[in-house]
Symmetry: none
Subunit: 433 residues, 2 copies
């Protein structure tokens, strides 16, 4: 099943409103197993709507329009639909009655302009709007064996979502047989796009074109999007599962979650489960690591706080970093990051201390330490470790990527800890056998 999404509204074109309706609709229909053909935003303009409708009706099984069905003069979607299908707009008394009832419940009568909401193209079905006045519309076009469904929805996000969830998704599931595909996104950190690709492409992961693998890099790491197509949903899921297993065999250490997981939430959950507390010391990331950690509701259960030691004086006075090491090794060095991690751990009386120091850029690099150089350190009562990276010349990317790698280092440390524990339990039990 191919679904095209047509969103109508000047505000979408001029950058006034981010098109979250399209994103949400894409997610809903993809989750049903449909393939999204294209998403088009166009002006509140009769001709534009007709042109895009024409192109989509020719190739898609379902065309979903949103926006432009309100009561004002710039709402032209209803008229464009009527003209496209060569029918008249007709006044539907039951729609208007429902609008009058909504107003009456507040002791009011509807403004005259609301009569337009009840003018719908002849033979279109009405989808009740449970939270607003503008109803959705449904029209099934049959041409020989081909059936196309055209659906028009209000642009107000809450109303659109209600109609899709209440009517559109259940009815499409009933009426349309879906092609079978399955999709999953694996979230990775610690390897770049091309390093991942080298590890994954040498092996024959994609021996047929019924599975697809896409690399989506960002400052949060590289996401791997897996897609599988098959003649049945069960078969598609099995293919997806097989692909995922092959990928995990090769890069399992770098996969921190899937789909909408957040690294900071995963690490937070691990800390909480193990009863460990955390504090962070930041130089080049300037507070972003603490910020990301505290974006997670409930993070105060394990996150005690941190120090942003932008100046060397604060590194010395609060984090007990050695003046000599700062002078001899520089603030961006292994010895300093380890002292920062241990310093914040002691200052905040926590189990774990994390530290980041680096050159965020765009200036401040040297030949030995170019812009984007970062040291990340971790300290516990028993352990201390540090890693270094060289990222880009983009300040904000470097800040965010440094935090991602710091969180991933903490995740791997916590994972090792539990692996060690699991092994220890096994060896204790072993002699009994």
């Amino acid at each position: 099943m191919r679904v095209d999404i047509l969103t109508v509204g000047d505000e979408l074109l001029i950058g006034q409103v981010v098109n979250t309706n399209a994103t949400w609709l894409g997610e809903q229909f993809s989750a049903m197993g449909a393939r999204i053909g294209r998403i088009v935003s166009m002006a509140d303009n009769h001709n534009s709507i007709q042109a895009e409708l024409q192109r989509s009706v020719e190739v898609a099984d379902v065309v979903v329009l949103s926006g432009g069905i309100g009561p004002t003069h710039d709402d032209v979607t209803r008229q464009a639909l009527a003209d496209f299908f060569g029918v008249e707009l007709c006044f539907d008394a039951s729609i208007y009655q429902r609008i009058e009832e909504r107003y009456a419940a507040r002791g009011q009568t509807p403004p005259e302009s609301n009569r337009a909401l009840a003018e719908i193209p002849e033979d279109f079905e009405v989808l009740n709007n449970p939270i607003g006045t503008a109803p959705g519309l449904w029209h099934t076009v049959t041409d020989g064996e081909e059936t196309t469904v055209v659906i028009a929805l209000p642009g107000v996000p809450g109303e659109l979502k209600a109609i899709v969830q209440d009517y559109v998704v259940p009815r499409l599931k009933d009426e349309v047989s879906l092609s079978s595909s399955a999709q999953r996104t694996l979230l990775t950190a610690g390897l770049g796009e091309s390093e991942l690709q080298e590890r994954l492409q040498s092996s024959k992961l994609l021996e047929n074109d019924e599975v697809e693998l896409a690399y989506l890099p960002s400052s949060k790491g590289v996401r791997l999007r897996l897609t599988a197509h098959a003649s049945s949903a069960q078969e598609a899921r099995e293919k997806l599962q097989a692909l995922e297993e092959k990928i995990r065999e090769r890069v399992s250490d770098y996969i921190y979650g899937m789909d909408n997981d957040m690294l900071e939430a995963i690490v937070g959950e691990m800390l909480f489960e193990r009863g460990l507390t955390l504090a962070v010391a930041e130089s080049c990331t300037g507070g972003l690591l603490a910020d990301r950690i505290t974006n997670v509701p409930g993070s105060s259960r394990y996150m005690k706080g941190g120090v942003v030691a932008y100046s060397n004086t604060l590194k010395e006075e609060l984090l007990s970093v050695s003046v000599d090491d700062l002078r001899m090794q520089g603030a961006v060095s292994e010895v300093v990051v380890l002292q920062m991690a241990e310093g914040i751990r002691e200052l905040a009386h926590t189990d774990v201390g994390m530290a980041i120091t680096g050159i965020a850029g765009p200036k401040g690099g040297t030949p030995e330490k170019p812009v984007g150089s970062v040291w990340i350190g971790l300290a516990t009562a028993e352990d201390a470790r540090a890693e270094t990276f060289v990222f880009t010349t983009d300040r904000l990317f470097n800040k965010d990527r440094s935090c991602t790698e710091a969180l991933n280092m903490l995740r791997r440390f916590l994972q090792e800890e539990s692996d060690v524990q699991d092994t220890a339990e096994v060896s204790i039990e072993a002699p009994k056998q």
Copy 2:
């Protein structure tokens, strides 16, 4: 000038990524006075790209593509462009040299897959990517008197923005004559949308339909977008100027900048000009205030650092907040926020200390202090002040909005300081006249 925006990427269709690139591009080209014809998202698929390209090239003056020009097998935009214009992909040694130099700066050599980035359609011009490896492309097509420009950009937002700001907008302004309209955005903080609207709508600001005013609220404050249309560019600018003056008369105290100004950069510049240093103490914002301040390149000239005092212990031990006040008044109180501001000022030896404490949510509210309650404090050697707000139940919005209001409080404080100084200078000089 009609601009069409074509964004390429499976992730845009399936609801995985919100298409903020399209929104940003729409805003940029609209601000230039261009009309956005349509925005289309399509799959990483050769035929889809060709089909949409065909439709847009026929009607638009400028076609901007983004995405699908990376090094991996699912990046097909370069090949689709070559095929569309009937040319070959050619290896451009200077592009690859630049990629090698980027890697060499980190002591590395590029992975083999990066060679694909230097394969560009014959006769296309290269737009250097200042922060990444995939360059942008520019192609001018002339057919009789008609000229169409086709531009391809990387999908990574930071890289796309850099290329558009550095090359695309300046060059289009040079080469293309624009219809006459003028646009400006005034950035405000300190008043909500409806408070602003009340102050601005009672007066007859918009007496004709050739000027428009839109309210765009966000956690960074409310942006006011002013648009003026006229028969000449000069006239449009004059109308815009007149509207701006009327708005400034009414709400000047709340306007902190315009267009792409960042509040943190404006405040930073004010601090630097006055030779003042800053440190911050954060509870509910968890490091975000320090993060936003240090997003500004060169901020280490005035920003010394901060403490994220998520736990009460850190508030007491590092910021010298009174245990009794914490117990009696609670962590979210005027007395505590003032002690935090003074505490961080002394700890970091700075001229100014700022502090934020509140209930970010979604849980943790009480009838007296609902979720979203925030106290913001400011301390200098001579002055101390605090303000309280109640925002929403959304954790991330509350964090960001609290930081915006803290920065705005600091801006207004620094502004008052210089107003007092100016007045003092005037009164000293006055007797001479």
